[in-house]
Symmetry: C2
Subunit: 397 residues, 2 copies
């Protein structure tokens, strides 16, 4: 299914924008970050101690120390003109410059001051306790590659390299449309037969936490013209439109016709072999991807997570975001009919041997199921079911 989308949206070019480092968390790099300098830029000591010439300490011990004359110290954050000759030493703090001529640093714990001299009790090997120029990052090295999703540690790495602004992909614009005569706003008292519009809210939350932007949000009844008008508007504003409800096989199933009325190529796939979430529609209207998602809240979440997010990630952003999923042992058995992938909402229980996935009972549309689940497992259509203790991957929701 993703192949169809990959073909339809192949060559998608997301525009990019410069952001400052403090706003870069979670954004997707649109350029390789190439180090403009060596890190460290000078030879650093990794300990508090004395810089020295390693050969001068050969064979020394507590009973027979090597005596070196102290010719000065280097200070944090400052350069130094000091240079060592044989049997000379310089005090260096952790992170300080190792002066010219030195090729090792002895930890202060293995030394004793003796007037103008320092007694060294332990031999030092060549380059011991020194980080060389460029040992961490070399100038011109690619430190972060294009399409990396920036995490906290990347922000730190960029700071270290003096990068205070980065080019990132603009956020994917998403429109959300809920359809159904029975839907009312969250703060409206319910009349008989009405239910509240849940999907607009859970979809918006998932879209935001996935790093996309909600640019359109609306709820309309089951009239062809109303849906068409709203969908047209949503498509004109968005890279991706999610329309939920209206895609079951009831009398109200107008969504495919409406999508096809708005532009080419229109509906690409109608009905994906997954449960819950079967009525998922995948379409392209001009440059916008349109997904018809099931109306039931949990089905809607599963369809979004398994179809929409991978599409946005792989096809539109081409990002290297690892899915947050964990291996677990199934704590239950399930018999499913072959022919479609089945998704189960589960909770995760941590045991000494890793996670156990337990089922959250209830029908797919249930709010109680939604609010208890940590994630879901997928039973691929090739498998006839699930045995207790089977290994499963749980994707967090």
């Amino acid at each position: 299914m993703l192949n169809i989308l990959q073909t339809a949206f192949g060559g998608w070019q997301q525009s990019s924008v410069s952001v400052s480092l403090k706003d870069a968390l979670g954004r997707v790099l649109s350029e390789d970050i190439i180090a403009q300098e060596n890190v460290p830029a000078f030879r650093r000591s990794t300990v508090d101690g004395y810089a020295l010439i390693a050969q001068n300490t050969i064979g020394c011990s507590e009973s027979l120390p090597a005596f070196l004359s102290l010719i000065g110290e280097t200070e944090m954050g400052k350069g130094t003109d000091l240079a060592l000759n044989d049997y000379e030493t310089v005090y260096v703090p952790t992170g300080g410059i190792v002066p010219e001529g030195a090729n090792g640093v002895v930890m202060i714990e293995y030394t004793e001051p003796m007037g103008d001299e320092i007694a060294v009790n332990s031999p030092v090997s060549n380059l011991q306790n020194i980080v060389g120029i460029g040992d961490d990052v070399k100038e011109n090295e690619i430190i972060l590659s294009k399409n990396t999703v920036l995490k906290s540690q990347h922000i730190g790495a960029l700071a270290a390299l003096g990068v205070s602004e980065v080019k990132v992909l603009t956020k994917i614009k998403v429109g959300i449309l809920s359809t159904g005569d029975e839907l009312v706003a969250v703060d409206t008292p319910l009349k008989l037969g009405q239910i509240r519009d849940v999907n607009t809210h859970s979809l918006a939350a998932m879209i935001k936490s996935f790093g996309c932007e909600v640019v359109y949000q609306n709820r309309v009844g089951d009239l062809f013209d109303d849906i068409q008008k709203a969908l047209k508007k949503a498509i004109s504003l968005s890279d991706v439109v999610l329309i939920s409800g209206g895609s079951s096989v009831g009398t109200h199933d107008m969504t495919p016709d409406i999508i096809n009325s708005l532009g080419k190529p229109g509906v690409l796939v109608h009905g994906i072999a997954i449960k819950p979430g079967k009525p998922t529609i995948v379409a392209k209207v001009d440059h916008t991807a349109v997904f018809g998602l099931p109306g039931h809240p949990a089905s809607c979440i599963v369809s979004y997570k398994t179809v929409v997010e991978p599409f946005i990630q792989k096809t539109l952003m081409n990002s290297k975001n690892k899915t947050k999923r964990v291996l677990a042992k199934s704590g239950f058995q399930a018999h499913v009919s072959a022919g479609r992938d089945v998704f189960y909402m589960v909770t995760l229980e941590e045991s000494e041997n890793g996670y156990i996935a337990n089922p959250v009972h209830g029908k797919s549309g249930m709010i109680s199921v939604l609010s208890k689940a940590d994630g879901y497992i997928e039973i691929p259509m090739e498998k006839e079911g699930l045995q207790k203790e089977d290994q499963v991957f749980v994707t967090f929701i």
Copy 2:
């Protein structure tokens, strides 16, 4: 160690604030959410079909259908006055009201219209395809409990219950202070001996993604008075202050004295048995928690993740956030000296049998290590090391 903090900060009361549903993602509930209504509020059909009296279909089949007279239909989002008598039926769409008198719904696929009658080809059991009043959520049931971290599906559940505003904990206020004569701002060209202030940026990113607020951010040199002044200001503004650098055993180690000069009880722990990150300081000054973190970037991240985040989560927010960690098999062996917990930065590789954790090589302060790691593993001090294939938990960073 967390016990000491638990005692020192026992009874911490974080204030709360009302936020609208669209701003509630990632926030921590400060109240139980009790359902004010039944969900569903009416008997709903889970299929497109015909509501009927189950007993009227006993023994029916394709060759011997049950004939029921169609007395009307229910519409989505509307109430109905219809009520069934024996051998009557009403058309009901998915999600529509099941009328009085009916105790089952037959899927439309198992029926055939015959003039004013509907031929039913398959027997229906009692309550089949019906969700009863309160089957999903019962009025007065606790649907989400206090201290839940709100995820997308919870936002959906709150929407379903008509909750458009929730009370959540105010964000924990965090101050960040970097110390060191060698530190300069990210956008400053480096002079010899200088390095850039990395920790302010990586800490700020981690704090924000953990749902806290950065209220103070500063960088000062290694002068007692400067650090004292900045720390005093940070403490006055923050619930938690993170001071990095200045906590190694060098000549510049003034942090504990400065903390103790600012209020009671002062330093609680100096030096935690973890590597990297040993110089971690834990203190309380008046009502503020102060953590002295190591200056090296990766050590700083590990100390923050293993000491600060659990404290904020368990002691200040008391939140039920499951740590994002996964079970993996070690792809390497490591010999470590007993006596302290050792943390290794690793990358995760997904295999058929789950994740494999591979080491990221390099010293703890290295930027290159930071930018490549997916997370870290902990080798507890009781263990002498790690064997290949050992099971390990990887915590995401």
